[in-house]
Amino acid sequence: MNPFLATFRRDFALHWAGGGVLAPLGYFLGATLLVPLAMGPERTLLAAAGPPLIWIAAALAVLATLERVFQADLEDGSLDQMLLSPAPLEALVLAKGAALWIAVGVPIVLAGAPAAVALQAPPERVAAIVASLGLGLAAFIGAGLVGAAVTAGVKRGGVLIALIVVPFFAPPIIFGSAVASGDDIDAALSVLAGCALGAVALGPIAAAAALRLQAE
């Protein structure tokens, strides 16, 4: 097995083993549940303003998983070993991001369908919302890796990560919410794909540079 696959497989298994999958999913569904409780059950009001709020829930769920992504590796010495792999650290960081997206992101994406229906999104829009969540979570994770890497050495860095990462979450939220509320869906989806591509390409490079400094 090559270093990329080995890292992907290990992280994927660790997300499942540590209950790291259920907590963000529960968080996502819980936050979605709070929306009608806060706005009231009025169907027309929910249909008009509810669906974009899925994005707040998704962003919060991702934020909650970021803190430990690299911090654990730094504390237990795994990061040193990653530095000694024949594969570049950037590739290993990408593998960790991919594992996070598959293990934590995909369940949230799938849960996005019932969440959208519950928030009164029109049925014909649900498929677009699910697709946009897939792209948006990739963008969140790509950017989130940078925030997680620069704060890996900070104890209780969760709040700091949130502050650092929020500006990077703004563009995907804007375009994702446009899909959810049905504004110019095609354009929004393609820009969202661009955001995801950029974050996935550049995020691991910046994160790996930060991790090399953390190992010093």
């Binding site: 270093p3 696959l5 080995a6 890292t7 497989r9 540590g18 010495g77 040193d80 070993q81 000694l84």
Partner: protein
Amino acid sequence: MSVRLIAKSLELARGGRTLFRDLSFTAEQGSFVEIRGPNGAGKTSLLRALAGFLRLSAGVLRFEGAEEPFLTLHFLGHQNGLKGAASADAHVRYWAGLFGGAGGGVLERVGLARAKDLPARVLSQGQARRLALARLVTARRPVWLLDEPAAALDGNGRGLLAELIADHCNTGGLAFAAVHEPLGVASSLTVSLGGG
């Protein structure tokens, strides 16, 4: 496999403090090098600099006969590099993939055959250290950098460690260890830090 290390006038400063300066030595292939010095003398920092994690303030470090330093060495630090939720076996498979090794029979070699399926979190300190030692033999690499490798090991464990190092050096490998007490392996060179 034959690698020698040449270090010339190494200097390392951390946080505005100079840990050592003008440190020179040559470690021939097949030798075991002890790094000695009091706490805070920079033993760990020297090992991390040899591994390429730390940037030296000055000096030249050359692995002769090696393609890339990072493909050449294993590093065993204070932390074992283990994940509590993963089994011993899963660790070996991961390292085999990460470093490009075979990984067969490794747990037997370090006496953890029966703990194969146990998650690392239930291993004792000594067993966890043995699992970390398994990494050294999962993929064959010519240079070992060991930071107090005997920590948490019992008598048997120390015997195993000495045996692993001796085997490694006898087959042309090069091993460095920061130690406080002798490991029971004849050292061919001692690097002393901290004015000693």
